[in-house]
């Protein structure tokens, strides 16, 4: 189910980037290999509506996946060497961070720590005590009267 959802989003992103490339100037689009454009065309969700034009396109209203594709295209075909390096550095540090997070998440030692904190919470809950207020005499009388009327 999750995979289907992701696939759907990617298909919509391909449609979006395809539409964006359609309105982009030829001198930019011509730098992208035809195979890449064919890939977008063949795998996009043709029923997904994404109507844009040069006048209405704001450069920001798009899926995150589309932004990612745009970044990759920019990195590979339109960026200066300095810009390309910056994007690659960003990707590398993001990759490192992701790996670190994955390692932390699935580290058996951390699993054990988590279990300990769970024990602490459970123990803490057990220690709470409940004290019920006894009803005041006035309330007792009222309740008794109400009970009498109930049986009438």
């Amino acid at each position: 189910m999750e995979m289907n959802r992701i696939t759907d989003r990617n298909a919509c992103a391909y449609k979006e980037i395809y539409e964006i490339l359609k309105i982009f100037p030829q001198e930019l689009v011509s730098q992208i290999p035809q195979e890449t454009i064919n890939f977008f065309n063949n795998n996009m969700n043709k029923n997904y509506e994404y109507d844009i034009s040069v006048d209405t396109f704001d450069g920001q209203t798009m899926l995150e996946e589309t932004k990612a594709i745009l970044t990759i295209l920019f990195r590979d075909y339109w960026a200066t060497p300095v810009q390309r390096e910056k994007i690659l550095n960003y990707e590398n540090s993001a990759r490192d961070k992701l790996e670190e997070e994955t390692r932390m998440k699935y580290n058996p030692d951390n699993l054990f720590k988590k279990k300990n904190s769970q024990d602490y919470v459970e123990k803490h809950i057990e220690e709470t005590a409940m004290v019920e207020y006894k009803e005041s005499i006035f309330k007792k009388i009222i309740n008794k009267i109400l009970n009498i009327f109930k049986f009438r």
Binding site: N10, A13, I23, F24, P25, E27, L28, P33, Q34, E35, T36, F39, V54, D55, F57, D58, G59, Q60, M62, E64, E65, K67, A68, I69, L70, T71, I72, F74, D76, W78, A79, T80, V82, Q83, I87, Y90, E91, A94, R95, K97, L98, E127, T128, A129, M130, V131, E132, Y133, K134, S136
Partner: protein
């Protein structure tokens, strides 16, 4: 949950907390639901109200220790969170708030207990820290959408109010539902640390913003950040109240019909708030108006006292013109004015030599002042403006001379600058010139506004006089530093434009004249070149960076040539800059695999193998 708590009380016996006193329960019953200590306190307070019980020690039934423990808050050791903890708290609070205000409040309560601080203090601390992280706070606009009906209530009260305050105002809010917060919510503009707008809080076509109606949009200025209750960590920033007179930059209406009703209402309530149609929304224009309003406010504040008198005590006419302040004392040291001054000084020297005269202070002020005034007058066309500009030059040089000489001779550090000049009609029909100065008696002392009054005698000399009676209905003409600076700037541009025109005999004659004159100012030119060279050396690195920025945009240039607007290009750049790392890595893998499959099937990409990684 509330009903549960009402009936039962959950008491936690914690090892580090205060324990319940053993006799509390028994005494509680006897005292009708009050602890003995509370009863003692009540009696004590009651006693003090009526008087006469001061000498009776009514706390003798309980130990002093217990009394202090209950009545006085024990000073608790507090720990201010360090930077890392603060950042973590901001993230956690934002996460909790995204599920609802109640969870955010619960988090604050818990953290306050952990740190041993007051809950409200911690809330304020977190809010202030979050505010400090807002990029370009001076440009951030907030948008609150509502119906025309609600807008009417807001305008009447003068405030955007949260539900609690609206209930206090007597409003019936039973019909309200759906909003995730009891506080006033906004959408907001967001900028990244490069100053690029990455998210607009206002979208004309937005349909899923949660507001019940989009008839009216209150556009709030960045001043709303000054509200203590401003919380930007919520999914939508919130405040408990906002004064629309102080914080509302403009109100947007959905269509002309709504706009007309809105304007009528504003007029009835005498509210001076700009309005426009939503489709006419222009962020930059609104921000500029806010900035202008701030400068005007500063000027008004500075002009609030003139010569020690409150502005209301003085005829409005004489102080009602726009002047600058020493902060924007803009033309004093520009090259154009410096050049005029230098040329005038040279002419003065030639005059002295030609007439075999000695230099005197008065003589210098008069000669150079008149020469500068003549140059200023040449910039204008109307007779009144020419006259004012000429007098402006004279008075201006006089105050400049005093300031400069005082400074050079170390007599004192008084600074006096002419900001504006106004011509008005005196009660006796004479022309009066009101000169508005800004002066600081000593270096570091605040500036104050000072007015001086002049008239012209038969010889055309300026004669200072006491503050005269002014005709209120008379004509008034104003000249300010800005007027002159603008004209000087315009003249420079015109000269550049004219220098590109084909030469005619008359222009050639002009050129020769200009060359002669410029020979006299050669020293100035050389000095200027030295300065320029230094600036060039210092700015070389910056120029290289700027050149690279300018050289790069094959991408930008191509888009511009194709008809994309600069805003769209900015949006594209910010989309690239703000791409989510996970999405980027995932898509990189997908496209990389797709490329590999293409290659493995025997496909080549234009003969070039691209390296995605």
């Amino acid at each position: 949950m509330a009903r549960f708590n009402k009936r039962f009380e959950v008491k936690r016996e914690m090892s580090d907390g205060g324990k319940i006193r053993p006799d509390d329960d028994k005494q509680f019953q006897e005292n009708g639901g009050q602890s003995s200590l509370e009863q003692q306190r009540e009696i004590y307070e009651e006693a003090n109200k009526t008087g006469g019980f001061d000498d009776i020690d009514i706390t003798s039934d309980i130990s002093e220790e217990d009394f202090e423990e209950e009545i006085y808050e024990q000073p608790v050791e507090t720990k201010m969170p360090d930077k890392e903890t603060t950042q973590r708290m901001l993230r956690e609070y934002a996460n909790m708030s995204s599920s609802g205000e109640i969870f955010g409040n619960s988090y604050i309560g818990r953290k306050a207990k952990e740190l041993g601080v007051d809950k409200e203090e911690l809330r304020l601390y977190i809010r202030e820290k979050a505010k400090a992280q807002i990029q370009l706070p001076e440009k951030v606009l907030h948008y609150h959408r509502t119906s025309l009906e609600n807008a009417d209530k807001i305008l009447q009260s003068g405030y955007l109010l949260n539900r609690a305050n609206r209930r206090k105002n007597g409003e019936n809010l039973t019909h309200l539902a759906g909003s995730s917060s009891d506080n006033v919510q906004f959408t907001v503009d967001k900028y990244n640390n490069n100053g690029i707008l990455i998210s607009s809080g206002f979208d004309l076509n937005a349909t899923n913003i949660g507001a019940a109606s989009t008839d009216i949009v209150f556009v709030m200025s960045p001043d709303i950040l000054k509200e203590d209750s401003y919380d930007c960590l919520a999914p939508y920033p919130t405040v408990e109240k906002a004064n629309i007179r102080e914080c509302c930059a403009t109100i947007l209406a959905r269509d002309p019909e709504v706009l007309a009703k809105l304007q009528n209402r504003l007029s009835e309530l005498k509210l001076d708030i700009p309005t426009m149609l939503q489709e006419e929304f222009n962020r930059n224009s609104i921000l500029q108006d806010i900035q202008k309003g701030k400068i005007q406010q500063e000027t008004d504040t500075k002009m609030a006292t003139v010569n020690g008198k409150n502005i209301s005590e003085i005829d409005d006419k004489t102080t009602n013109f726009q002047v600058g302040t020493h902060d924007n004392n803009i033309y004093q040291y520009t090259d154009a004015v410096q050049s005029i001054q230098s040329n005038a000084f040279n002419e003065y020297c030639e005059y002295l030599v030609a007439n075999d005269m000695d230099m005197t202070e008065e003589g210098q002020k008069e000669f150079i002042g008149k020469a500068m005034g003549k140059k200023y007058a040449e910039l204008f066309e109307g007779a009144d403006e020419k006259q004012l500009a000429e007098i402006f030059g004279r008075l201006d040089y006089s105050s400049l001379y005093d300031t400069q000489m005082n400074y050079d001779e170390w007599t004192n550090t008084k600074v006096k600058s002419l900001l504006g000049l106004q011509k008005v009609q005196g009660a006796d029909g004479r022309e009066i010139f009101v000169a508005q100065y800004e002066q600081s008696m000593e270096d570091g002392e605040p500036y104050e506004m000072v007015s001086e009054y002049y008239s012209l005698d038969e010889k055309g000399n300026l004669v200072q006089q006491e503050a005269p009676q002014i005709q209120k209905s008379g004509k008034s003409v104003v000249m300010t530093q800005k007027s002159i600076a603008d004209k000087l700037g315009q003249r420079s541009q015109d000269r550049v434009a004219n220098s590109e025109q084909p030469q005619t005999p008359s222009t050639k004659t002009k050129e020769i004249g200009i060359l002669d004159r410029s020979g006299k100012g050669l020293d100035n030119v050389i000095n200027g070149m030295d300065k320029a060279e230094t600036k060039m050396t210092e700015g070389l690195d910056k120029l290289v960076d700027e050149a690279e920025k300018v050289a790069k945009p094959i991408f930008e240039q191509a888009l511009l040539s194709a008809g994309f607007s600069p805003e769209t290009i900015t949006g594209l750049k910010s989309s690239i800059q703000m791409v989510a790392p996970r999405a980027l890595l995932t898509m990189d893998n997908i496209l990389g695999r797709a490329k590999d499959q293409t290659l493995s099937r025997g496909g080549i990409e234009d003969g070039n193998e691209q390296d995605y990684r």
